[in-house]
């Protein structure tokens, strides 16, 4: 545990990629394989479920530290992280231990899941007494299910590739499935991860997907990309990225977060595909017609593990296919985009002839004579229910993650919706933003109540990001000055600040007070030129809803 805590501290403290990489390599070289296996799992983004409810963690920590509840809460508000608060307030350990990460996870934490509170209590007190501040922090994070670390999966891949002397694409491939919780990290598993390449490897993949190739935001005028003819242009859908894997007579559907979601989309699970095919695309709810349903509809499907026949009928899912990564068991990722596209078109056409297969749609390629004409077509994005366009280099390979070395995918998104809203509640952030008010609730004017007490501010969105540190500091200060009431970590403030809020989508929602829900709200800028009275109204917001 000590080595992993040290690694965590190093990764957490430095912002330098080189130093993170060095620290990772150093750890993987020296750690016992069983510990290294779990380290890979956590560092690459594995998210174990919470083993002990937060309430119990808090309660036992308070008991052990001998602090009053109120004083513990004051500490928690200053720290902004439960595990870190607990690590700091407990008395120093009396029985330091040398137990490794794997044993902590398998013998220490796993048995706590669902155990009686009394059992959990005596275990926690024993564990905490064996660990120093850094280790306690980590253990408590792992138990509480909130482990996160400032390192990308790509970096973990690079570190492993360096110590194994293997191509990082191979490591990335082997890492697929490591973090979805379906396979237990073991010493043997870690040794396989860094073992010599073998010929049978490709055949042993089971239902594993390929690492997703991710797009970059287009940060310049598209003309800068050169000849339009060198680019394959598609719509950018606002759905759920997924790979549909068909091998050994079975289908697997994987989300970008590497969650296996086959059961949630039975209509895609039953598609009969040839063996050895992997399709990359977007899952959407599509009722028929030219445009997909809003993301909110897809969300209703995403959350359900058991899908009723009624829901299948009301919210039918489709996969819009835009890439072919494997065909007849052969990895196509090094072929040029245009060639993969041609094979995809052929495959989808064949399937449609054979089976009808309305749940599999081919993503259309958009053709235009010039960038200017393309921009005009892009202006139709909202009516078409898409977020803009994707620009894919016609001669590019399919890369790994957010890389640009073998070609680039650009997302050319339309400008977000925007509305001027008033800050009415604020909550302190976490981690880097602990003790700063960074999470805000925004409201617009509801004029419906006019006549009886005048118009009211009605909250419609929460937003966290978009301001610089300096701007946050100013807003934080203004919040403290204009606080009306504190409810735990939340403050209500006298409305005084107007912000331009951007968002990607909007839908009616009976669950929200304002009657609407917006997607990806974020702060575009503070409108210091506007008074609270000049903020937008709920009617203005609702007018953005596309007429049904």
């Amino acid at each position: 545990m000590r080595d992993f805590a040290l690694l965590y501290a190093e990764l957490d403290e430095t912002t330098s990629t080189t130093r993170k990489l060095n620290a990772l390599q150093q750890y993987f070289r020296t750690a016992a394989p069983a510990d290294a296996a779990w380290a890979v799992y956590f560092l690459a983004g594995g998210k174990p479920r919470q083993a002990v409810p937060t309430k119990l963690l808090r309660q036992f920590a308070i008991e052990y530290s001998g602090l009053d509840d109120w004083l513990f809460d004051e500490c928690y508000h200053a720290v902004g992280d439960l595990a870190e608060t607990i690590a700091h307030i407990l008395p120093p350990p009396n029985q330091p231990s040398e137990i490794g990460l794997a044993d902590w996870i398998e013998l220490g934490i796993a048995p706590l899941r669902g155990a009686y509170p009394g059992t959990v209590r005596s275990a926690l007190l024993l564990y905490w007494d064996q660990l120093d501040t850094r280790e306690r922090f980590l253990l408590t994070k792992l138990i509480g299910g909130g482990f996160r670390v400032g390192v990308s999966r790509l970096l973990v891949t690079r570190a492993l590739s360096a110590i194994a002397g293997l191509d990082s694409k191979l490591i990335a491939q082997r890492l697929m499935g490591w973090t979805d919780g379906s396979v237990k990290p073991t010493a043997a598993g870690f040794q396989q991860l860094i073992a010599e390449h073998t010929e049978e490897e490709h055949a042993q993949r089971g239902g594993q997907p390929y690492p997703f190739f991710l797009a970059h935001q287009l940060d310049r005028e598209p003309e800068a990309l050169g000849e339009l003819s060198r680019w394959q242009v598609e719509w950018k859908y606002d759905g759920m990225r997924a790979q549909l894997v068909s091998r050994e007579g079975q289908n697997w559907l994987w989300s970008r977060g590497e969650d296996l979601i086959t059961e949630r989309f039975p209509e895609l699970a039953v598609l009969r595909l040839p063996d050895g095919v992997v399709i990359d695309g977007e899952i959407l709810v599509w009722h028929g017609g030219d445009a997909p349903a809003p993301f909110a509809d897809l969300q209703k499907r995403m959350g359900r593990k058991q899908v009723s026949a009624r829901l299948l009928g009301e919210l039918p899912a489709v996969m819009v296919a835009y890439d072919l990564l494997e065909y007849e068991g052969r990895d196509l990722r090094t072929l040029p985009q245009a060639q993969r596209r041609a094979m995809l078109e052929q495959l989808v056409a064949t399937l449609q002839v054979q089976q009808g297969a309305p749940q599999l749609r081919l993503a259309p390629v958009i053709r235009a004579d010039s960038w200017k004409q393309l921009a005009e077509i892009r202006a139709e994005s909202r009516q078409r229910g898409v977020e803009g366009m994707m620009l894919k280099a016609a001669d590019a390979q399919y890369g790994v993650g957010r890389t640009k070395n073998v070609g680039t995918w650009w997302k050319w998104k339309i400008d977000p919706y925007s509305i001027d809203a008033v800050l009415i509640y604020a909550q302190a952030g976490h981690g880097r933003r602990a003790s700063l008010y960074t999470d805000y609730t925004f409201a617009v004017w509801d004029e419906a109540g006019e006549g009886e007490g005048g118009r009211k501010l009605v909250p419609f969105a929460k937003a966290y990001s978009g301001l610089t540190d300096a701007e946050i500091a100013k807003v934080d200060h203004a919040i403290r000055r204009t606080t009306i009431e504190k409810f735990g970590p939340v403050r209500s403030v006298t409305p005084s600040m107007v912000f331009e809020i951007g968002f990607e989508g909007i839908a009616s929602s009976p669950r929200h007070k304002s009657g609407i829900a917006v997607r990806f709200p974020r702060i575009l800028r503070q409108r210091q030129d506007k008074t609270v009275d000049q903020a937008d109204t709920l009617d203005a917001l609702k007018s953005l809803l596309v007429a049904p």
Binding site: D12, S16, G431, S435, H477
Partner: protein
Amino acid sequence: MTSDMVVVRKEGLYCVPGQFYIDPWRPVERAVITHAHGDHARGGHRHYLAATPGVGVLKSRLGDIHIDGLAYGETVVHNGVTISLHPAGHVLGSAQVRMAYRGEVWVASGDYKVEADSTCTPFEPVRCDTFITESTFGLPIYRWQPQQDVYDDINDWWRANAAQGRASVMQCYSFGKAQRILSGLEADIGPIVCHGAVQTLNTVYRDSGVWLPPTVMVGDVDKEDLKRALVIAPPSAAGSPWVKRFGDFSDAFASGWMQLRGARRRRGVDRGFVLSDHADWPGLMQAITATGAERVIVTHGSIAVLVRWLQQQGLQASGFDTEYGDDEADDAGVGNAASSAADNASGTADNASGTATATADVAATATANVTANVTAASAEAVSTDAPPAGARHA
């Protein structure tokens, strides 16, 4: 209430019978200064009184002032109040102010630290009836390691960097923290380079008889040797051309705020060393208990928390709103300074019982002024790599 020996006025803490101020934030006739950090020692007073070991630093920072030194433990009587100064262990020349009048004793702590270090006279508890204490780190999450452990960590970090041919740039405040770190360095690891702002204060310390390892200015070192150097510079030097000359260096920050991940990550340095010149939570408890005071007045920091806690322990406790920032507040990034000011204000509201003098108006002004100071200090921090003389802290 009217008989309180010390009250808050718009100029600062005021000793009523003695007719003098303690660390006032506006110009006054007579000021007793606890220590030379900028939020406690300001320019413009007619007459200053400070502990003798602190006179040199005050003069170097405030220029030509009318100042008297008083040796620790010696007394002077002013308008019937017997004043003496006692070591606070915070920085060179830092003092607690003891005031005795008609059989009653009050002590104002200024800033203090209970762990002894070799760069200043160690903290001495002073028995009193009423103790005015700071509360910069007044939460149980703040518990310091023994300083030798921190020095060891700093030396290990330096040694590892030197072995890789990389300079180690330590950001810390020029006055106090810098010298304390210097006193813990193992000088055989490599050359110790100090920024001009730090070097000026090193001279004052050495002149006062404090031993510090040999230090040099950057121009005195060969380019090759810089790669093994430990560099001590004020935070304002971060990102400046002065610091860029060290090439691929590792940077660190030393402050009590580095205890928290959030503050450390906001700083964006490779290493955060938890080293403070203020008392931690156990230190505050130890100091308060040792005074034997029945009444405690809490200033700058976690006022509301400490007041509530002390009241639970059966003490008569209340808060004073002051304009002392805390010298380490800047360390944590802009947020904390503002938050301590705002929390000060709420502290008064919640605990108005003890002090009638701290009115809502005073609280409001205090908050507003602290903001102005914080803004000024951060502006300085980015605009210059020279020591921000006078104002807050270099």
